[in-house]
């Protein structure tokens, strides 16, 4: 290697003193970055608007529901539906929403994560798989009421023998199909985020493909699986439109029901309760609608908390 002599590095003409002073002028010019300041202001404005809207919604629901939730809380969460506003409750909705969530979790999570694992780890990167992935992304954008029509045709009518018609099973399966694309997409993203160096390392030690998936890919992608699953569960808990089409009841009275009757008989869910209460005369029932909304929010909050705790635990185990 040839090292240049110092003389070759030096400029032939020495700089004038003013030139040097100009180079060292680091004084801040206030007018220099107007565009940046405007953008920053606009972004802050966007955040304020978003937070204010969410806060308003939550606040108004809480205020509207305060009378019902403070005056007759236990009646409200433990009584079935009733035409008497002082005795009406949403226990059927709570039970229905929990059952729906359980069905979604049992069906959509394993199927969705399994599909994502197949697409990412096993399927060859061909035109077909790419087409499939685009279709899945499109399905995530289909309006939920359309899934309701699908549920009505397939689960309520064609599979009546298994689901018992307009039952919580039909509703749960419909919601499972509804959130399946979201589960697949989020799972796909988290599988892609697993570094190839881990796969290479495991293959290099003589692991089979299944061992690589089981010991490297799934543990690393698990926090992502959880986040996606819980997001989609929250979405499913809040949906009313598809349940309406599938035939969830707005109002029903039953005596004692066994587990099987609950699964195959009439059902409702918390969003249905909200819709139902808001249709009734406002002076008497408005508080009930808001109160049912608060119960939904609480349920979603619990789901998210579970996800956050589980995620933190797994991340800690991985980085320990």
């Amino acid at each position: 290697m040839v090292v240049p002599a110092p003389s070759e590095l030096a400029r032939s003409e020495p700089r004038h003193i003013s030139e040097v002073a100009a180079m060292a002028d680091f004084k801040r010019r206030r007018s220099a970055d107007i565009g940046g300041e405007i953008l920053k202001g606009a972004l802050i404005g966007a955040v304020v608007i978003a937070v204010a809207m969410v806060a308003t919604v939550i606040l108004s629901v809480v205020v509207d529901s305060s009378e019902v939730l403070s005056g007759q809380f236990w009646t409200f969460v433990s009584n079935p539906s009733s035409s008497d506003s002082s005795r009406a409750g949403v226990v059927q909705g709570i039970r229905g929403s929990l059952l729906l969530a359980a069905i979604v979790a049992v069906i959509a999570f394993p199927v969705g994560i399994g599909a994502a694992l197949y697409l990412e780890e096993y399927a060859k990167d061909s035109r077909t798989t790419r087409f499939l992935e685009i279709m899945v992304r499109n399905l995530a954008g289909v309006p939920s009421i359309v899934y309701g029509l699908l549920g009505l045709a397939v689960f309520v009518q064609n599979l009546r023998g298994i689901t018992g018609g307009s039952s919580v099973i039909s509703g749960g399966l419909t919601l499972a199909v509804l959130v399946l694309p979201i589960v697949i997409i989020t799972a796909t993203e988290s599988i892609r985020a697993v570094p190839d160096s881990l796969r290479d390392g495991a293959y290099g030690l003589g692991a089979t493909q299944w061992e690589v998936v089981k010991t490297q890919v799934i543990p690393m992608a698990m926090p992502g699986f959880l986040t996606g699953s819980m997001l989609s569960l929250a979405r499913a808990i809040g949906e009313a439109a598809p349940l309406l089409v599938v035939g969830a009841a707005a109002f029903y009275t039953t005596g004692f029901q066994g587990f099987v009757e609950q699964l195959s008989g009439a059902f409702t869910a918390l969003p249905m309760n909200v819709a139902n209460f808001s249709k009734l005369p406002a002076n008497e029932w408005a508080g009930h609608a808001a109160a049912a909304g608060v119960v939904i929010l609480a349920l979603v909050l619990v789901v998210n908390l579970v996800a956050i705790v589980a995620r933190a635990r797994i991340s800690r185990r991985l980085s320990r």
């Binding site: 495991a202 030690l205 003589g206 692991a207 690393m220």
Partner: protein, 308 residues
Amino acid sequence: MIEQTLAAPFQDKSAPAVTTGQPLRAMAESGDPVDTNPSLTKIDVTPTETATVFSARGLGVSYGGERAIENVDLDIGDRQITAFIGPSGCGKSTILRCFNRMNDLITGAKVDGTLLYRDVDLYDDQVDAVAVRRRIGMVFQKPNPFPKSIYDNVAYGPRVGGRRRGLDELVEQSLLSAGLWDEVKDRLTDSALGLSGGQQQRLCIARAIAVGPDVLLMDEPCSALDPIATGTIEELMKEMKRQYTIVIVTHNMQQAARVSDRTAFFSSEVNPETGRRGGQLVEVAPTATVFSQPADQRTEAYVSGRFG
């Protein structure tokens, strides 16, 4: 103990090399249901102890129709360090990844020609790539410890091989062989991600050793490390060649000169027939010869720093 002259193309088998008891390999195989049969194939072809570990003839690789490298004729000697050097894009890493069938994992990669490992054709239909990788370990460019404890990293290979007992001793032996034991023996349950880069790379070496391989392929193992960690790994390699055949890809010519017994120089050339650029093996010779009196002008230009 095994002193070699650089001029000898392959290690003299009458030297004590044969007597290397390979305690680690023996240990890895005792009580191990998977590795008791060293055969790579379902047809019973037991690899014989030969002076030549790998023998490539007309070996080439294409990715989706593009020729990455072709026509490689190369022999790798037993318990020697062979260095692959050459400019970027010359296909040296690609060839290295043929040796333990890692190219199988790349969609569209196609290997042609023949590659014998101790007289077994590695690309025979009957050969199981997973079994190949258990005999021929690999250390990667960037240290890639698993996000697990130090212990679990080393025990990973034996565990996926079905081994459940004697892991403690195996982990200790492997870490000792990789020169890492004294630094980590008190924190085996700590995350491997907390180690320094050089320690992580030695952990990856220990992890590869724990499977009981015959060969270690190292793909630029020091390129992400500082000079001191690099020196440690180079010393380790010289130590390890008593037991293992090592093939190392390196961008660092001084490293090749320091550690290797033989050096293969690869270059990227435009094929006059197709007009396409592709890698090829220019020459392979004892390291001293490659660096002092190379047969090919291109080698001379590269090792003297005039290109690449």
